[in-house]
């Protein structure tokens, strides 16, 4: 269960994580994201490859926040019992160390005035890696819950839609963002000098522990004992 107020606060706090760890490029939308018709249609179309979907999302600003590597996050909510968070990796840069460091180098050229912005963007567009992290989606859907085949709280790893990893917790935007950040941007995570929390500063690991503690367990009505007996996230 997630209220609209919690969602908005979670989105803003997520941006803080990305910004403080210096991976955030722009905070485009502070409220629940609603995809346009074309993006929705392509998301459902199993013939559309991931690259095409990603490029469309990028072009039409179908995201709440975009990262320096041009990956992006979406946070959307239809009701307190229906919501979805997604991370779309950049399929051309991935988390490839060499690619990431070449981008950093290009950033430096721009800030030194050696490279103008268009040439910087063109240079990035010509970098291409063959392996990249999977798209990651978290969904909570009370209406679609089926104790045998469709967990209410679940994670999709990759673009394949019918592969759901059940989760015994309600995720909020903060936990989702921190989890992605820790797994896919470990250097930024390690180098982050901490973030303000009330009147003190905490590390991202401390924040992760706190946030995880705030995420309640999914009740039996939406996560049966049978499901708990199978492999799942807790």
């Amino acid at each position: 269960m997630l209220t609209n107020v919690e969602l908005r606060a979670g989105i803003s706090r997520s941006w803080e994580y990305l910004s403080r760890s210096e991976v955030g490029q722009a905070f485009a939308q502070p409220v629940s994201f609603s995809a346009n018709a074309e993006f929705r249609a392509k998301s459902r179309d199993t013939d559309v490859p991931y690259e095409e979907l990603y490029l469309l999302g990028l072009r039409d600003v179908q995201y709440n926040m975009i990262l320096n590597d041009f990956s992006f996050f979406q946070f959307s909510q239809d009701s307190e019992n229906e919501y979805r968070f997604a991370y779309y990796p950049n399929p051309y840069l991935g988390s490839d160390e060499a690619a990431v460091s070449s981008i950093k180098e290009l950033h430096e050229y721009v800030s030194e005035g050696v490279l103008d912005y268009e040439d910087y963007l063109r240079s990035i567009s010509e970098v291409s890696v063959t392996r990249y992290p999977p798209m990651i989606r978290y969904e909570f859907s009370a209406s679609q819950y089926d104790s045998e085949w469709h967990p209410a709280s679940h994670l999709h790893i990759g673009i394949f839609a019918d592969w759901r990893w059940g989760i015994a917790k309600f995720l909020n935007p903060k936990l989702f963002t921190l989890t992605v950040l820790r797994h896919l941007y470990p250097n930024a995570w390690r180098e982050c000098q901490g973030i303000p929390s009330g009147d003190r500063r905490v590390t991202l690991d401390e924040e992760l522990t706190t946030v995880k503690g705030q995420c309640g367990a999914v009740p039996l009505d939406f996560y049966s004992n049978n499901e708990r007996n199978r492999l799942h996230f807790t």
């Binding site: 803003s12 722009a26 905070f27």
Partner: protein
């Protein structure tokens, strides 16, 4: 007064029968009462869902007679025609219905719900024939002389000049530029900015007859369109593409541009113009809207040409390392492709927007990919030397397109002008700027040239200032003399009155980026409260080095206020849309080129070098994106210098006053006319001055000019 002739396709040259009728109507326009009329050749064409096209040979629009649509034949030709008289009559009837359906949509042209005030007659002219015994809706005439009697028989309707102008704008497609949905202002008091914009939009006729004429007329060879920011160059090219596609659906058309974010704007414009005449969308296999270079994910003129030539396209680092000294990477890429010698012609029409930004070798490539002999190549390029943010010198056609082995220019506008249709020009200059408020444009020019700081560039003569819509009361430009230049309201006709708390121009100089961003975010909030939509606000960073940091902070500040943003530089792969509903646009000056917004924030003005032409051109380009409100901000002393110049410019507006510098010492922007064109233009300007001195209004002067150009 005289009949205005608008020839819109090159079929004209092979259609002696229609030419004969045009000649007859033109020579007898006085007797026939056609002095205020306009005669279109091959225009308009309407296309229905089945892709059937309805178009007369000639369409006469006369305030005295209404519309007369002609199909013209010689008796001998008609005998061989595949069309029967009945089929021709039905097709003319279909055309008339299509035209009527457009006219009736205009409230001021409606008599009743189903009847318009402009009658539509159809005539089948069969010279040497005409004696038919079939009952047809069209009038069948056998001689040119019989046209006079028929016009008389129909009686007079006498449209007012406003009604004629409205009818023309419907026929010529100007309605495509209206807002798709009317702006709704609930409370003018609470939303003064929205109310002001609504009034401005009602006032806008931002596509005047001169612009429409350039768009519609096919000159049958190379042509150049020059004009400053906001004079409608992109709109003209879009309309031209739509019109060519309508009249010749098989023609392969290329529309190319330099700024990636311009693609969706151009596509929307072409679609809007096309849909005025057609029930279907354009066939995008025939109209290619292509970025000059292209990219890994997007096609481009260069990369397409490489594919057709069987040459691997160069990546940016390769092009950069292949570039000679002073050559830009894109220029090198095009040069190397041309050197391969395998480039193939492909397009029937090539339309180049933002021509000032392309390297010479791109023009040479454009020349090679265009079909036809050298003076018949349909290449139209639009450019604005003041928007040249890449610091390219002003280049003439000979330099752009190069020469043949005998040293003759491949493109010579004087030479190809020999075969122009009546009333056409292949070197148009647009003086009227519709986008900017007068004081904003004058201030942008003042900062662009540096007239209140260090002059880094200058127009070469009084005549060139007049080309860009100024008057020079102080006379010829003499080194060391004081110069006064004034922009008359008629050349920047759109005006929004001052609204309390929302000056047209404002500025903010501070010491930290955070404070600058805070000021912008708060001002944006005020604009939104005042009734603007988020997409009507554009923020341009002049500071390339810190653009990412600026936009990260600004997007955050806006998001914390609940405002969404569209950072157009956060996409290296696509040609992203410049404007997205409910999002404030964040852009570099480079990506903002060719685009516009009601309120424009120019940040990071301290980063601009006031001693360089490139720096001042960036300022000019950024400032001229604003339709109404302009905000400028930056840090410390360097920003203060810009603001000082801005304040002086605004205080003096609509005048600019300066001491004429030594042209040899600074960059002079050349006028680029041939001597012949220059003499003709000087005579025309003198004529206009005399007419104005004689007390004629602008409309009357326009009429006089039409008269003289048709007499030519």
């Amino acid at each position: 007064m005289s009949l205005e002739i608008v020839v819109t396709t090159s079929r004209w040259k092979n259609d002696p029968v229609s030419r004969e009728l045009v000649d007859y109507l033109s020579k007898n326009s006085g007797d026939l009462n056609l002095d205020d009329a306009v005669l279109y050749y091959d225009f308009p064409a309407y296309v229905d869902y089945s892709e059937s096209k309805f178009r007369p040979d000639l369409l006469l629009l006369s305030p005295v007679h209404g519309f007369v649509a002609f199909r013209c034949f010689q008796e001998t030709i008609f005998q061989r025609s595949e069309e029967t008289l009945e089929e021709i009559d039905i097709a003319l009837g279909d055309f008339a219905s299509n035209l009527h359906s457009r006219i009736i949509k205009s409230r001021s042209l409606r008599k009743t719900r189903t009847e318009s005030i402009v009658p539509i007659h159809t005539v089948i002219l069969i010279q040497g024939g005409g004696d038919v015994d079939i009952d047809l809706d069209s009038q069948v005439l056998g001689s040119l002389e019989s046209v006079e009697n028929t016009l008389t028989d129909w009686g007079e309707i006498n449209l007012s000049s406003e009604e004629l102008s409205e009818t023309r704008s419907v026929v010529e497609g100007a309605k495509a530029l209206g807002r798709p949905s009317k702006r709704i202002v609930k409370d003018e008091g609470k939303e003064p900015l929205a109310a002001a914009l609504a009034r401005l939009e009602n006032e806008i006729i931002n596509f005047d007859e001169k612009q429409r004429n350039i768009a519609l007329v096919e000159v049958g060879g190379p042509a150049r369109i020059r004009g400053l920011a906001g004079t409608g160059k992109t709109v003209i090219l879009a309309m031209k593409a739509a019109h060519i596609h309508l009249t010749n659906p098989e023609a392969q058309i290329l529309v190319t541009f330099y700024t990636k974010s311009l693609r969706s704007t151009i596509k929307q414009l072409i679609t809007k113009f096309y849909r005025i005449y057609s029930d279907a969308d354009p066939d995008w296999k025939r109209i290619h809207i292509r970025h000059g270079w292209g990219g890994v994910q997007i096609p481009g003129v260069y990369s397409d040409a490489c594919k057709r030539a069987g040459v691997r396209s160069l990546k940016f680092p390769e092009a950069r390392s292949a570039a000679k000294q002073g050559e830009d990477p894109f220029g090198a890429a095009c040069r190397i492709l041309l050197e391969a010698g395998t480039v193939k012609s492909f397009y029937d029409h090539v339309l180049i927007d933002e021509g000032q930004d392309f390297p010479d070798s791109f023009y040479k490539l454009a020349y090679e990919i265009t079909e036809g002999a050298r003076d018949k190549k349909n290449i139209v390029w639009a450019y604005d030397e003041l928007q040249d943010i890449l610091n390219i010198h002003i280049r003439q056609p000979k330099e752009l397109f190069g020469t043949d082995s005998a040293g003759q220019a491949l493109v010579d506008l004087d030479r190809s002008a020999a075969t122009l249709p009546p009333g056409a020009t292949n070197d148009a200059v647009l003086e009227k700027a519709y986008r900017n408020q007068l004081q904003v444009l004058v201030a942008a020019h003042a900062l662009g040239f540096g007239v209140y700081g260090q002059i880094v560039q200058m127009l070469e003569s009084k005549e060139h200032w007049e080309d860009v819509g100024y008057e020079v009361p102080s006379g010829s430009l003499v080194e060391g003399d004081g110069v006064t230049i004034v922009r008359p309201e008629r050349n920047s006709p759109l005006h929004v009155p001052e609204i309390p708390n929302f000056p047209v121009v404002d500025h903010h100089v501070t010491e930290t980026i955070h404070d600058e961003v805070r000021w912008i975010a708060e001002s944006i909030k005020d604009f939104l409260v005042g009734g603007l939509s988020a997409e009507e606000i554009l923020v341009i960073s002049l500071d390339d080095r810190n653009a990412r940091a600026y936009f990260r902070l600004l997007s955050e500040a806006l998001a914390f206020e609940g405002i969404s943003s569209n950072n157009v530089i956060a996409d290296p792969y696509n040609e992203p849309p410049f404007s997205i509903v409910d999002k404030v646009t964040l852009s570099t000056v480079y990506r903002a080129k060719g685009n516009e917004a009601a309120a424009v924030f120019v940040l990071g003005i301290d980063s601009v070098s006031l001693k360089s032409r490139g720096g001042r051109n960036k300022l000019f380009t950024a400032m001229t994106r604003s339709k109404v409100w302009l905000r400028m901000s930056g840090l410390s002393h360097a920003a203060m210098l810009v603001v000082d110049e801005l304040s002086k410019a605004l205080d003096n507006s609509p005048k600019m006053q300066f001491v004429m510098p030594n042209l040899k010492r600074i960059e002079t922007i050349q006028r680029g006319f041939s001597k012949k064109q220059e003499a003709a233009k000087a005579a025309r300007e003198e004529y206009i001055r005399n007419l104005r001195a004689a007390g004629l209004s602008d409309e009357e002067i326009d009429e006089e000019l039409k008269l003289s150009s048709n007499a030519d």
